[in-house]
Symmetry: C2
Subunit: 246 residues, 2 copies
DNA sequence: CATGCACCTGTAAGATCTTACAGTTACGCC
DNA sequence: GGCGTAACTGTAAGATCTTACAGGTGCATG
């Protein structure tokens, strides 16, 4: 077991496979006094079919049930993490959410599987990736809260390093498909298009012919494998290829 | 000065103005052994004219110079934070960056203004907001590094709570312009459009007439105050109104 | 100096989007 | 029952995008 949080950061930098990540999370789990963990990430390869990666250190039975029942869609922790940047301790979930029969059933099933309390940590990146890391304990909230509170800052920071490592590994794995690289002009044209300019207007702005604008956008389109300008703009934004100007 | 990180979280939740945030950051600055701070946030109201908010606790002279020279565009800390999720200690900046004459001039000017070392922390949210919080010290890297390392986890966590508070405050201030709310159908149509479907194709998918799809997207367009479908899709994505499906 | 790359330009037919016109149905709420 | 809202539908002219054709310039790199 590693000593302090810097050791974990260093270890995260050295991971080379998702298996390494699993081992690292298990280690963290022990170090910070949790029983189980599960990590999930969503990469915005496309809006409708994003790439999903899970690394589970949950009890197999519960995790299988979670997946097969699609509990992701009702899990209040997922809902929190999807729209927030702050961590959430499980015993802090809004009471009103628990009044929904679906959700309270889900939560009591989790308790039955030995997940009584825990900590969920969201990650959001500049290029639209979303990830969350959950740590759970079988201790009661009364018994575990203080302990969780104490470890939260380090666990929160480390979660971000872990996601960074996962991104690096996933990118390396998927190097069969070369990563898309747009030229300056292509990005520039897309930026204006995303701002509502027609090809003719963008041509005036950049002082070139309309045909050239069309040509650049088409190149971007074929690089991004999209079929319309709308999808091209959408994909460029959701992958962080074009983003707000400073 | 507050005692521990939870007090700061609680205090962040109680802030009601940017002035409160300034006071809170100043307090944190002392508590974690820094001299100055500056916070900046970019809200994706539009790609080309995003809303920018600064809260400066930097020496006035340096901050004025920073703004008037547009140092934001060359600041390697900004560059790091824009594309990363992990904090960065100033003495850890890549050597090769410092070989650029612009950047090394910038860094030495900062040192002359009493900013010798520091910590920069990025924030990225699910709806495309970007923020960063810098803390600086006039101590040399040798003298300050250990101290910074020790405080990083808490400062990192608190930065996210501070950004959350700023968002809340900014939203409340700008309540003159009502927030945009799309209907389910409108989001659904935009999602398919962003996935490259034409109005006719989306009509087949949703089993309604093509005219209805056009109508929904037009409504979304007028709500978002956009002038083309490309811009509508762009704005919906960059504001997080439509996002990848779980 | 050949090769690749970024950048640039023109024409034209057909598909798609944009905007204008003018409506109907269903539902919840006061 | 009146009111607001979401959802739905049709036609048509003109603007814009998409795709196909066929080309030229300048610069860096090996």
């Amino acid at each position: 077991m590693l000593e302090n949080y810097q050791d974990y950061i260093e270890a995260a930098g050295k991971t080379r496979s998702l298996k390494d990540i699993h081992a690292l999370c298990s280690d963290m789990c022990n170090h910070y006094g949790f029983d189980h963990f599960v990590y999930g990430a969503r990469f915005p390869t496309s809006l409708l079919n994003p790439k999903i990666v899970f690394i589970s250190g949950y009890p197999t039975q519960w995790w299988e049930r979670y997946k097969s029942e699609n509990y992701m869609r009702i899990d209040p922790l997922v809902a929190h993490c999807e729209h927030n940047i702050t961590p959430i301790r499980w015993d802090c979930i809004q009471r009103d959410l628990l009044e929904s029969p679906n959700i309270s059933r889900f939560m009591s099933e989790a308790v039955d599987s030995g997940l009584r309390n825990g900590l969920s940590i969201p990650v959001h990146t500049s290029n639209g990736e979303f990830a969350m890391l959950n740590f759970s304990t079988s201790d009661s909230p009364e018994k575990s809260s203080d302990h969780i509170i104490q470890g939260t800052p380090e666990v929160y920071l480390l979660t971000n390093y872990i996601h960074e490592a996962v991104t690096r590994i996933v990118d390396a794995l998927g190097e069969d498909k070369p990563l898309v690289k747009l030229t300056n002009r292509e990005r520039e044209c897309l930026l204006w298009a995303a701002d509502g300019k027609t090809a003719w207007e963008t041509a005036q702005i950049l002082k070139v012919s309309e045909r050239t604008i069309v040509w650049h956008i088409q190149n971007a389109q074929s690089k991004l494998k999209t079929v319309s300008r709308q999808q091209t703009v959408a994909r460029a934004i959701s992958r962080g290829i074009i983003s707000p100007q400073l």
